[in-house]
């Protein structure tokens, strides 16, 4: 377990460094839902930087695999639930102006009150959702 915590901490430092690099290098917030959402909406004045950032993001797992590393991550959920969850994550992050990265990593780092409220809300609701699906419904 301590090794897992160390990996989490080091991974967190990398994520924070990535956000700091984009902020100090380009003046932009590394919020994934904002980056993707702005591309989906084809906002005017959308920077090509968003596409380049996403290319870097999806290159990461390819580089890790080429280097012989493994990526933990199996999404074992029924297909209808995957669709419902995906729709909620897409719609909700845009309505709420951010996700785990934009609010949780950048916004909290920037001492934003909005991001604090957003982060507490999505964490509490997610924990409640897990409680309902894993404990209440599982007992059936």
């Amino acid at each position: 377990m301590p090794a897992q915590y160390l990996h989490s901490l080091l991974g967190g430092l990398l994520i924070g460094s990535a956000a700091a690099l984009l902020l100090l290098g380009r003046g932009q917030i590394a919020g994934i839902s904002g980056v993707v959402g702005n591309l989906v909406e084809r906002q005017t004045g959308v920077g090509g930087w968003r596409i380049v950032f996403l290319l870097g993001l999806i290159a990461a797992p390819l580089v890790v695999r080429l280097a012989g590393g493994e990526i933990a991550g199996v999404l074992s959920l029924s297909w209808p639930l995957i669709v419902v969850a995906g729709l909620l994550v897409g719609f909700g992050t845009r309505l709420g102006s951010g996700c785990t990265s934009g609010h949780g990593v950048c916004g909290l780092g920037n001492l934003s009150q909005r991001s604090l409220v957003a982060t507490i809300t999505f964490m509490a609701v997610a924990a409640l959702t897990v409680f309902v699906t894993h404990h209440l419904l599982a007992r059936g």
Partner: protein
């Protein structure tokens, strides 16, 4: 003001940032939905590792934002594109709550979704496709249309 070498560097920054971000998500375990669900399962076998991820990330972003704000611009002298909204709105809370339900059902948030979908498996690809539809749906039904509406709604 910036010479050709420094502007070339500026173009590489988003790629380097995205790559670093992806490595961080993979190393931290954020790409593993079961680990996320275990973190969110406070009444079960709680796994606190996600708290280390956020703690590690904020340990870097907090001084970085403080420094950027004091400078007032990027290292190359460009403007900072920071959100200027400060009001708490129903949209912020309702949107975050909807995101929380989706995150709690799946254990997947947007960044990890893209990283695991890059592996080509059907389930994460379906998740990303649904997420994009959700974002497009927002743009059609709920996005404020005018600047005035934007500042009023957000």
């Amino acid at each position: 003001m910036a010479n050709k070498t420094s502007t070339a560097w500026l173009r590489v920054i988003p790629f380097a940032s995205g790559l670093l971000f992806g490595f961080g998500l993979i190393l931290s375990g954020m790409t593993d939905p079961l680990r996320i669900l275990a973190f969110l399962d406070v009444a079960g076998s709680w796994n606190p590792s996600l708290a280390f991820v956020m703690g590690g990330a904020i340990a870097v972003t907090f001084p970085a934002f403080a420094y950027a704000r004091r400078r007032g611009h990027t290292l190359a002298g460009e403007a900072l594109q920071l959100p200027d909204r400060t009001t708490l709105t129903p949209r912020l809370v309702i949107g975050s709550a909807l995101f929380g339900v989706g995150w709690g059902l799946s254990g997947v948030c947007p960044g990890p979704a893209l990283v695991i979908a890059a592996g080509g498996a059907a389930a994460p690809l379906l998740f990303v496709a649904s997420m994009l539809v959700g974002m497009a749906l927002y743009a059609v039904v709920a996005r404020p249309r005018t600047r005035a509406a934007v500042s009023a709604a957000q």
